[in-house]
């Protein structure tokens, strides 16, 4: 059987005033149906860029993406995205936000009644039916992110793309949402690519963790298979030696093998001081 999602040798260059900047170099990844894959790496390593290419928001300079054997061109609802900053339309209620997506995807397939039931069903999945008629500025950050997930799920995507979905939330809310996501995942068994910089989140949620090297020209460094039986319980796992071991492996990759972040910052800083000095001289 062919791979569900095949990210094949993608590279991307961004034009800059100093010439093209190669952000990704030869990233390849095959993902099976129902698999939960996390991309982890230091900030600026291009993990969001990978997601954006899969989403179709960026075009790869080289290589391409195959979804069920067909090449992906441009964005589309079969690759729904949960954005980091919820990205709900602030002038619409939770219900209307999900409705916009449902109408767009199922306009010709479902009747009005079916669409309504489908919207409510998805709000129910994320436990948000009580705030269906509230606008985003009337609900908390965690609730907004829940509605964002409901909107993405409602598109019935082949691949669900999550760009640091819980990054902007406090630790407790984040844990809540991770549990909710695992619960939903148990029922729907979606194919998911999630960007994260949280090691615990990656180990807890994923079947595979893809660790990316530092940019520029970032690529896949190591891939870790997480063989922990589901359902997973964060409390029980905390002392599980396998969990601790997976965690250590990811941490080792991030903080020993790919520890380039601080020197880079130092270089940037010294450059800035140089330019400032030049300005002062001028």
């Amino acid at each position: 059987m062919a791979t569900h999602l095949d990210i094949s040798h993608i590279s991307i260059e961004f034009p800059t005033p100093k010439g093209p900047f190669k952000a990704l170099d030869n990233v390849s990844l095959k993902i099976e149906k129902g698999e939960f894959v996390s991309l982890i790496g230091h900030s600026g390593c291009g993990k969001s860029t990978v997601l954006n290419i899969v989403a179709g928001l960026y075009d790869a300079t080289e290589g391409g993406i195959l979804l069920d054997g067909r090449e992906v061109k441009g964005p589309g609802p079969e690759r729904a995205v949960v954005f980091q900053n919820h990205s709900l339309l602030p002038w619409l209620t939770s219900y209307q936000n999900v409705e916009l997506a449902v109408k767009q995807v199922f306009r010709k397939i479902k009747s009005k009644k079916e669409m309504h039931d489908w919207i409510m069903h998805n709000l129910e999945l994320v436990h948000m039916t009580h705030a269906a008629d509230k606008r985003p500025d009337e609900i908390s950050g965690g609730m907004k992110q829940r509605v964002g997930i409901a909107r993405a799920l409602a598109m019935e995507p082949s691949v669900l793309l999550m760009d640091e979905p819980f990054g902007a939330l406090d630790a407790l809310t984040r844990a809540h949402l991770q549990d909710s996501l695992m619960e939903i995942q148990k029922d729907l068994n979606n194919t998911v690519i999630m960007i994260t910089h949280d090691v615990d989140e990656a180990v807890l949620l994923s079947d595979r963790i893809v660790m990316m090297t530092n940019g520029p020209a970032a690529t896949v460094g190591e891939i870790l298979h997480v063989d922990l039986e589901r359902p997973r319980d964060r409390l029980a796992l905390a002392n599980d030696p396998r969990y601790v071991d997976y965690r250590t492996q990811v941490l080792t990759f991030l903080y020993e093998k790919q520890r380039k972040v601080e020197p880079i910052q130092a270089v940037v800083k010294s450059k800035k001081t140089v330019t400032r000095a030049k300005v002062a001289n001028a």
Binding site: L57, P77, W91, Q104
Partner: protein, 322 residues
């Protein structure tokens, strides 16, 4: 029965509100009137003293009385006309009565009414042009680049410069035996439109261009059609800035109209001011001052109306509007 603590708290609240909401503004107005009275009595012109608050109040009363007298005269005119026509028809049944309109001098309040509907028509027309054009410019960088120089050049043009051109064009192109609108109305209206459309145009364009990138991505992922994209994402997102533009436009429209009416001798408050100035009686300055205050007051009301509409129409209830 009510516990005295809550009563005291309520009193505090009321007094806090009335100090800020009523007492201070009233105090401000009183100080202004006092300074006005003192200052006015020191300014002497060839038409007498500069009008102080008392004189202005008297002139206001006289303008109201004049208006009422005029209305009575008008009524009498129509009654007389009807009687005369009835008489003639009684004598000669084949007589077809010609009905004539009353042609008395428009009063202060007639002029206010004329100015109001002229400004609203001009502002309405400007909005009808500026909002769609602004959306187009905001959506498309090429359209923006093409139109920007034209906008930047016409934006700072004073109404007085437009006026002669508009007057000539209207007289040349609007030729009709039974005109629906008077030429003076059209001239004033178009001048207002030309001068007041820019803030709406520019703010709408900026609002449209500044739609959050995340929301644009949502639209792309959903593959929204162009129309849905504009209606569901772009316009709602631009509404707060659009209203900022509309309020600025309405303010400019009102200022421009008065100037245009003065210069072109078109009916309205501007003409009232000019006529009084030309009249040069001892009452004139007082009457002009009444008009000045009225112009300010109407401008304030127009802005309040726009603000109320904005509160109603804008999704962003957290935005502080003042």
């Amino acid at each position: 029965m009510i516990p005295s603590v809550t009563l005291a708290a309520l009193k505090d609240k009321i007094s806090a509100f009335s100090v800020k909401g009523i007492l201070l503004p009233v105090f401000g107005i009183l100080v202004f009137i006092l300074l006005w009275q003192v200052g006015a009595s020191r300014v002497h012109t060839s038409l007498g003293e500069f009008p102080g608050p008392v004189v202005v109040y008297e002139q206001w009363n006289s303008l109201v009385a004049e208006h009422q007298r005029e209305r009575v005269k008008e009524e009498k005119f129509y009654v007389r006309q009807e009687e005369r026509n009835a008489e003639r028809q009684a004598k000669d049944p084949s007589y077809v009565a010609t009905l004539r309109d009353y042609t008395g001098k428009p009063t202060f309040f007639d002029q206010i009414f004329t100015s109001l509907y002229t400004v609203l028509a001009g502002f309405g027309l400007a909005s009808l042009i500026a909002i769609p054009l602004g959306i187009l410019i905001g959506l498309n960088r090429s359209v923006y680049s093409a139109l920007n120089p034209v906008i930047q050049v016409f934006k700072p043009v004073s109404p007085l410069a437009w006026l002669p051109l508009v007057t000539m064009v209207v007289s040349a192109s609007y030729v009709s035996d039974d005109p629906m609108f008077s030429k003076s109305f059209l001239t004033s209206m178009f001048t207002v439109t030309l001068c007041c459309m820019w803030p709406t145009l520019i703010n709408t364009a900026v609002g449209v261009a500044a739609v959050e990138k995340d929301l644009l991505n949502v639209s792309k992922v959903l593959r929204l059609g162009w129309m849905t994209h504009v209606m569901k994402i772009v316009i709602p997102s631009a509404i707060p800035l659009m209203f900022t533009g509309l309020r600025l436009s309405l303010g400019i429209a009102w200022m421009v109209l008065i100037a245009a009416e003065m210069l072109a001798q078109n009916p309205g408050l501007g003409k009232f001011v000019w006529d009084e100035f030309q009249n040069g009686s001892s009452n004139s300055l007082g009457r002009i001052m009444v008009a000045v205050l009225m112009i300010g007051f109407i401008g304030y009301l127009l802005d309040r109306v726009m603000l109320t509409i904005q509160r109603f129409a804008s999704w962003d209830k957290t935005q502080v509007l003042r």
